[in-house]
Structures are given as C-alpha cells and as structure tokens.
C-alpha cells in the first residue's frame, strides 16, 4: 500500500468530487451520488445521516470498494481505488475495509470464532496469527466464552459484537457500519453504539456509521447529512 501524493496516512478516507450515475433502461440517467467530497481522519467516526434513497448506501459502497464511481477520486488508507478493477477491489476489501451489515449476516453454520476467521480464509490466509487475533478480539468484545456458539445460540447484541469482531479481523483502515442499531431496542442500541465507539477509538480506526436515527449520532465525532445524492456541509 503506497500512499498517493497529497495523502497522508493520517487520513483514512478521502473522497473528492465523486459521482455515481446509473443509466436506466429508457436511456435516462439517475445520479445516485453527486459531487461528493468527504474526508475522514484516521481515527474519526462520522455519522452519515439521510432519508431512504438519499445515497447513503451508494456512498458507503464506493468507499468500501464494492461499487466503482463514475467520476472522482477515492483514497482509502492511502490506497487510491479510483481506477481499481474488480479483482483489485476484491483484494482491497480483503485488506483495507471492514463491514458491519444492517442484518448482521453472520454465516449461520459457523460458530462465533469461525465467523471471524472466515475473513482470513477468504483473504490473507495467515493461519495461526489469524486464530490468535480472533481469540484476542473475542476476548476484548466479551465473547471469549461464546466462541463456540453458533449465531442462533447468541443474542442480538452478541451477534452484533461478533459482526464487529469480523469487521476488525483484517485490521482495516476504515470500518463501515450500515444501520447498526436498526434491529435493536433503544437500550441495546445505545450499548452497541457505546461498544462501537470504544472499539474504534481504542484501535484508532476510522468509521462511517450509516443511520437515519438522529438519536445515535452523538456517539460519532460529527454528522454528515446527505440528501438526493448530495452531501450537505
């Protein structure tokens, strides 16, 4: 990973004038993201807030290397992914980014520990170091005694913690949280946000928390609003 000119390793994410345009079947264009510019410090937590259809998923997908942008520059952890092809983006996702999905999406037939290790099996395949890291993460997340439990044997909050552990397995520059509290009650949601903040800050890892719930934005360093594909200052 070579930092590109003008980008320091203290910047986890730099999006400059990013556009994403979809061409519909009738030939018309739909602008999902319009000249988005966003910068995240290496340990900064940002809440991305907006209504449904505002472009939050598109922005996060581009930052996470799941979607390619139509225009603009995207640098994550010093790696410019603006012109990456599909293979390069896959490798990028293995190494630089962590995801915590809205519906958690743990692999149902793997226990908690194995759900963390799947990241290593799909990517670097380091073996023993990955197993040690998984055990350490489970310990830090208070799940050491649940390592051998399947997701069906865990509570909602515990599953969320496993998902966070999975997102941190490859020591990413950036973790993307998609509606982490939408399936949880208020008290549990606050506990989870507290945990997310502590984990991100203790590791100095940047995070974007996608949410439409204004009640949890105070856990983040700042909020960025998006409406109709445009980021508001």
């Amino acid at each position: 990973m070579t930092p590109t000119t003008g980008t320091t390793v203290s910047t986890a994410l730099e999006m400059s004038d990013v556009r994403k345009v979809y061409t519909m079947g009738d030939g018309s264009d739909v602008v999902a993201l319009d000249h988005a510019t966003l910068k995240l410090g290496s340990d900064e937590m940002v809440a991305l807030v907006g209504p449904s259809g505002s472009g939050k998923t598109t922005l996060v997908s581009i930052a996470g290397g799941i979607l390619s942008a139509t225009e603009g520059r995207i640098v994550v952890g010093g790696e410019d992914i603006s012109d990456h092809n599909a293979k390069e983006l896959t490798k990028f996702r293995q190494n630089q980014v962590g995801f915590v999905f809205q519906s958690v999406n743990l692999v149902p037939f793997l226990n908690a520990r194995e759900n963390l290790l799947v990241v290593d099996e799909l990517g670097r395949r380091t073996g023993a170091p990955a197993r040690a890291r998984a055990d350490q993460l489970l310990e830090e997340l208070g799940l050491a005694d649940r390592a051998k439990n399947l997701p069906s044997q865990l509570s909602g909050g515990q599953r969320q913690r496993v998902a966070i552990g999975r997102a941190l397995m490859n020591d990413p520059s950036l973790v993307l949280f998609d509606e982490p509290t939408s399936a949880l009650d208020t008290e549990l949601g606050e506990q989870v946000m507290e945990l997310i903040r502590n984990e991100m800050k203790s590791r100095g890892t940047a995070a974007i928390v996608v949410t439409h719930d204004e009640r949890i934005t105070h856990y983040c360093d700042r909020s960025v609003h998006i409406v109709d594909g445009r980021l508001e200052a």
Binding site: S52, K56, T57, V60, S61, G64, I66, L67, K87, T90, K91, R93, Q94, N95, F99, F101, Q102, N105, V107, P108, F109, L110, E114, V118, V119, E121, L122, G123, R166, L176, D178, E179, S182, V210, H212
Partner: protein
Amino acid sequence: MKLALKELRRRPGRFATATVILTLIAVLLMFLGGLLDGLIASSTGAIRAQDVDAIVYSDTAQASFVRSRIDPELRAQVEAVDGVTEVGGIGNVQLGARVPGNGPRDLASVALFGYEIPPTGVPEAPAFGQAYADDTLKADGVEEGMVIELGPARTPIEVVGFVSDTNFNGQSGMWASPDTWRDVLSQNRPDAQLADGVFQALVVRGSGDLPDEIDAATGATESFTVDGAVNAIPGVEQQSATFNQIIGVTVAIALVVIGLFFALLTVERTSLYGVLKALGAKSSTIFAGLVAQAVVVTLIAALIAGTLVVVLDLLIPPGSIPLQITPSRIITSIVLLLAAAVIGCAFSLRRVLRIDPASAIGTTS
C-alpha cells in the same frame, strides 16, 4: 472451499434430498450398466472365450452360425494362408434341454458347441455323448454326472464338468466333441445336419492380419478378430446402443438434478454470497465451494448406490436375470456421475458471477 465443506458437515440435512435422489439415479445407472454387461456376457461368452486370432464364417452368413457353412475345400484354403498355424472347426445348435427333476415344460435353454480347439477355460473335447456345461445351468438344477436330454429328440448328454462365461445368445453354453454336436444336430435338426468335415465356422491361430488375408485368399469367407466377431453377433451392437442411450439419458437426468438443486441453493444463498463477496471472497472461491459440495454429495450417493447394487446382485437368484455387477462398471458409473456433478454446477456459475456484493448492504439505505 473449507467453508463449503464445513456447511456439508454441519448441515447434512440440507443436502439429504439431493443425496437420496442421486442415490436412486446412481442405483438405476449401475443396475442398467449391470444388465447391459450381463446381457452382453450371456450373448457373447462363447465367442469371447475363443483363444484364437480369427473367426471365419462363410461370406454370405453375416456372422451367423446358422447361416454359415465351411466345407473341407474351403477349410484347406484357409489352412494354406500365410501366417496360419492352426485351424479348428466349430459349430453350435440351440435347443431346449430337459433336466431331471424339472417339469416337462420347464426346459433349460442351451447352445451346444462342437469344437476342435478348446476355448479359454474349457478342457479338451470330452468323449462322445458327453459335454461340459456353463455354470449358469446350475440354476436350472444341472449337476455334474447328470444326464440331460436335448431337443425334441431327447438326445442324452452327460454333463462331465462345469465351465464359466461361455454362454451364447442368452443361452447356456455346452461344449462337446464335433461328433456329439453332429449327432445332436442330425437327431434334432435333420434339415440342418452337416456332412462330416463340414463346420459352421473356423477358429484360426496364427500371425499377421489374418481376417483380411484369409478373406483375400479364399474370396468366400468373412473373417473377424475375436472382438470383431463379438460385435458382429446379431443383436449385440443394437443391444449395446440401446442400453448406452438409456444410460446416457440417466446421466443427463443426474446432471439436471444436480444443476437444479445447486441453482436453487445458490438462489437461497444469494444474500450470504453477497456478504462473502463484500468481505473479499472471489467468485471463483464461491464457485469452487459449490463444485466441492456437488462432488462430495455425488460421491456419497454413488458409494451408497454401489453398495446397494452389490447387495442386490447377491440377493438375486443366479440365472434369474442377466445381471453382472463388476468393479469397472461401478467405477465407470461413479466417474460419469462426478462429471455430471461438475457440469451440473456450471448452471450456477453465471448466477454466482452476477451476485452483487452491494446487495449485502442495507435495503433501507
């Protein structure tokens, strides 16, 4: 792939239906193959057992013993061909046989051969009025030392021993001297009796391209290698072709079953695959996992089926149906099924390639 194999171990129930269906298909495949092998064996054993380099019929016979005649003059021409070292006459007659202890209408079907050069596994021709019997006749109650009566003339023939895999046209082979054969022929098929020295076919040992050289020298024969003669037996090729077509269709059905099952599984797991892709899984990794699952499921089904058909073969009374289960047939069936498994999975490849990792990220954002 580790992930896919873990799923197989942890959720075997998920694959139970496909395994059961594939087991049934595999049993059918192996059973059909065993029937084909058994039918072919029971039709061709007498020819396959010939330890010779050429089998010679008269040129208008179309490889049929009944239609073929080789007289001494024609035989002499064959013997004079360069490379020929030994020539023996052979002929057969197909009759019903009365076995002591069986009902009057409960006849055993036999093909009595008169031979000069012993086939593989058959001793030198016994004395007049005696014959070796194929061991498939044991299922009809024939025992060594027993005298059975052949044909409408009830010609007595003493069974002096048993041989294996010498049947012809679905009838149990019996092996006697040329004199015994002529005697049975004249008594039971007077219209087809042959003069001394006349045989229906010749078996020839020697070197070189004997079938072509013999036919070129005589101009009145049609000669084959042993393999060629086996394929030329009327009905054998057609039988093989028919069964092989049925087997081919069965393999195609297996391919479709596997393809559909894993296509459905892929649809069910679109969300999971999307997550895995978002985490950095390559499409090739996901597809390899699918193929691994298909191969393991198919292998398990094939091994269960192989065991079942072997047990079935042991349970079926000998002689009741022409079933012959061999290791090579089981292995061939397994290989065909595994190939079907891999190809069947290809139906899912496009779907796997098209799974969008972005689908893993929120539906409400």
